[in-house]
Symmetry: C2
Subunit: 455 residues, 2 copies
């Protein structure tokens, strides 16, 4: 038994310390393509905060890297193993400690699955809005680590806006409490928000106080078809400029519409160049649906279909929900990008991605949180074909370059991980990178926390 | 002429570099009581980013402290001079660079007055929600520095949620851009939120990208009178637990109600122990007002007065708006606290403050953003009476101790400055303080940025 494992077992039960090679291999990576994963030394599955502190103390003493993990549904390789590391999976720390309807907060452990929290608070008439597509698997800890978004963000904002306070185990095993349990608070620097999106490079979240909202009414959805990406982008601009606040505003380009058509036999016209879905969860959404329908027609929509009720709304959303599976079916493997641009530049991004697809002789479908300008251009490729894989990787990079050129960011909600490390440097520039590295060093002077990620 | 002034004049016009003693004295402090202010060496009023960079380069070379200032309406002494410092007033950098209704953002310089931004965006059907009471004087730069709140926060959140990106001049004069112009973005650590509330100790904000919202309908207000703080606190809990989201939910205790009664001759019954004001800015607020009125009655309200229209709503709000002036009139000087507690503990805080007032033989009126649990216990005292001043200071501290004891924070929205420095250490504890000092050192290794503030 290695010295590392012996030391870990001094503070953890045997069932929480795994070294079986197959198990380690299955925990070594998240859902990202093209991200190298190293060979972990051990997998630890703690149930208690004190056990996490023990892991970090041992790791600090022995100078062993620690890679924190949630559900490993991430798309940037942030949860991938590095050689010789402790994989620190938080999935067994999955207690909902408290739900407080008066103060509209919940206290949760990091391994709580997003959907489990949503269901639990729904019983109190409340909602935890952040809703990544992986919400049925992903954990709140992972959501905090990546700064996750989702479909609701256009109205309700992202994870950062719902994290009020954190308990974090620092690299040396000390416990740090940040933030507050109150609605407001400005005592000292905002360490809470610094941890959100830090991808396990600054500390290990073991508890979070999150804000809740009253559960909204069920949303009513409208679908609109367009003959060009420009027309759909124009519709998005008109909707937002007119002061509407949809509860979702999603867009699918021609490629993703066709892929879904094939998968689900939906019978959407092949001439559809873009499909826009707008939802409203106000008490009387009908009037807004009518107004938004008019704006879509004014922007050149060829067809506008407002749902009559919740069931019809779900049918319209089925195309959107099937989007990624449909694109995966095209070539077996996908690589999902995450560039976010000012929403006025959405059409330019869509047209640019179509050109990139042509140039690299690839299928690239775009599914977008259009209301946020956050697009997921999804490169479809055959991973067994080296040339196609190379072209996939190149087109992925070309899309990030396009996003930056349009005044956007390389990542709206998926994070940097190992996938976009070089691109982060391009987006931030040397001065910001120097500051960020300085902050990293304050929290993790030995460099044991998820090394090689983000930077 | 001092070496400092000579060097400053190399990059600034003479009209921007002031050394007149009276002028310096008038700029040496903000609105906080009991906060020492040092003797500044010079006041600089730049109009351009490059001039701010010049000031910081000179200050770094000469190791001279720099105190950034907005409108100096702050209440914690964060903008107070330290001996020999450069007072760096940003009030002349007051351009609204861009208002973009499609992307719902504005780009502003730090000296833009909050009310000026609000008025400018209203012309586009938009709103910039954060609304500190000083909104007609305070600047966006100051709002960012303090992490300002206001009446709207219970529905719309605080300044931190509206700052998307910043241009910041670092201590050595370099320009750092943080964040983004897009709705979402998680590229690297959230430096933007780190600067919000950092009170000029990490850098000088010279430009901000802020998020806007569609302007809401005018709000309709309900007033409810209660015979005890406990009943009013109970009403707040019932309103929030029932899932209402008021656009304001304000509370005045007996002392502030009586002070306003005297000032405005409003004829409120002297038996009123607490006055609650609830506003709704939904398209149909009448129904919510009725429901909230019922909840207030169930909690024991002695009188419930719903406004019929916007004009009546403004009349009801007049009492709230006159609150601080009325308390100032009591003894000539006030000291405004800012403790925020979980809203379920509001009544305990009110009762505790009443006991503290009795014990210290002082008048302390409480005005509270009740929906956030954010209270402003306001100590009234005669500043020319040393014993009363001492008791005022002691009661102010006792209120912070009570806030912490109730699971709250010493500052919901006013910041730490010099006023609450020792209390910050008590709230955060040594580990957090060590981390925060480490971050400060990353940005300001020479310690020239607003030294002695926050820590």
């Amino acid at each position: 038994m290695s010295d590392l494992v012996t030391r870990l077992l001094e503070g953890l039960p045997a069932e929480a310390v795994l070294t079986d090679t197959d198990v380690l291999a299955s925990y070594a990576h998240d859902m990202a393509s093209f991200c190298p994963a190293g060979a972990p030394a051990v997998l630890v599955l703690p149930r208690e905060r004190e056990q996490v502190q023990h892991v970090l103390r041992v790791a600090s003493e022995l100078r062993v890297p620690v890679v924190p993990q949630g559900a490993r549904s991430g798309l940037s390789g942030a949860a991938n193993a590095v050689d010789g590391c402790v994989l620190l999976s938080l999935v067994r720390m999955n207690r909902i400690v408290n739900i407080d309807p008066v103060n509209r907060i919940a206290v949760v452990e990091p391994g709580v699955v997003n959907a489990d929290l949503s269901k639990a608070v729904a019983g109190h008439g409340l909602a935890y809005p952040p809703d990544p597509s992986s919400w049925e698997q992903c954990t709140i800890g992972g959501n905090i680590g990546t700064g996750a978004g989702g479909l609701c963000c256009v109205k309700y904002g992202v994870t950062a806006e719902y994290v009020l306070g954190l308990d974090v185990v620092l690299a040396d095993g000390r416990l740090l409490s940040t933030g507050r349990s109150t609605a407001k608070g400005v005592a000292g620097y905002d360490l809470t928000r610094l941890f959100v999106g830090s991808e396990g490079t600054l500390g290990v979240v073991v508890r979070a106080v999150v804000a809740l909202r009253p559960a909204p009414p069920p949303q009513l959805v409208l679908a609109a078809e367009f003959g060009s990406a420009a027309a759909a982008g124009d519709a998005v601009c008109r909707i937002m400029a007119a002061g509407h606040t949809p509860s979702l505003l999603e867009l699918m380009d021609r490629t993703s519409v066709r892929a879904v058509n094939r998968l689900l036999k939906m019978g959407l016209p092949e001439s559809t160049e873009a499909l826009l879905l707008a939802g409203f969860d106000t008490p009387e959404p009908g009037a807004e649906l009518a107004a938004v329908g008019e704006l879509c027609r004014a922007a050149g929509a060829t067809e506008v279909v407002p749902a009559e009720d919740a069931a019809e709304s779900e049918m319209l959303l089925a195309a959107r929900r099937a989007g990624l599976s449909a694109l995966e079916a095209v070539k077996g493997t996908t690589m999902i990008d995450d560039v976010c641009v000012p929403r006025a530049r959405l059409a330019e991004l869509l047209d640019g991605v179509a050109r990139i697809a042509d140039r690299h002789r690839l299928t690239i479908g775009v599914i977008a949180h259009a209301g946020d300008g956050n697009t997921h251009p999804t490169v479809c490729f055959d991973a067994t074909d080296p040339d196609e894989s190379r072209r996939a990787r190149e087109s992925f990079d070309a899309i990030m370059a396009l996003g930056l050129q349009l005044g956007g960011t390389i990542t709206g909600e998926h994070g940097v991980g190992v996938l976009k490390r070089e691109w982060l440097a391009r987006e931030l520039g040397p001065d910001s990178l120097e500051v960020q590295r300085g902050i990293k060093a304050v929290f993790d002077p030995l460099g044991i926390l998820n090394p090689g990620k983000v930077f």
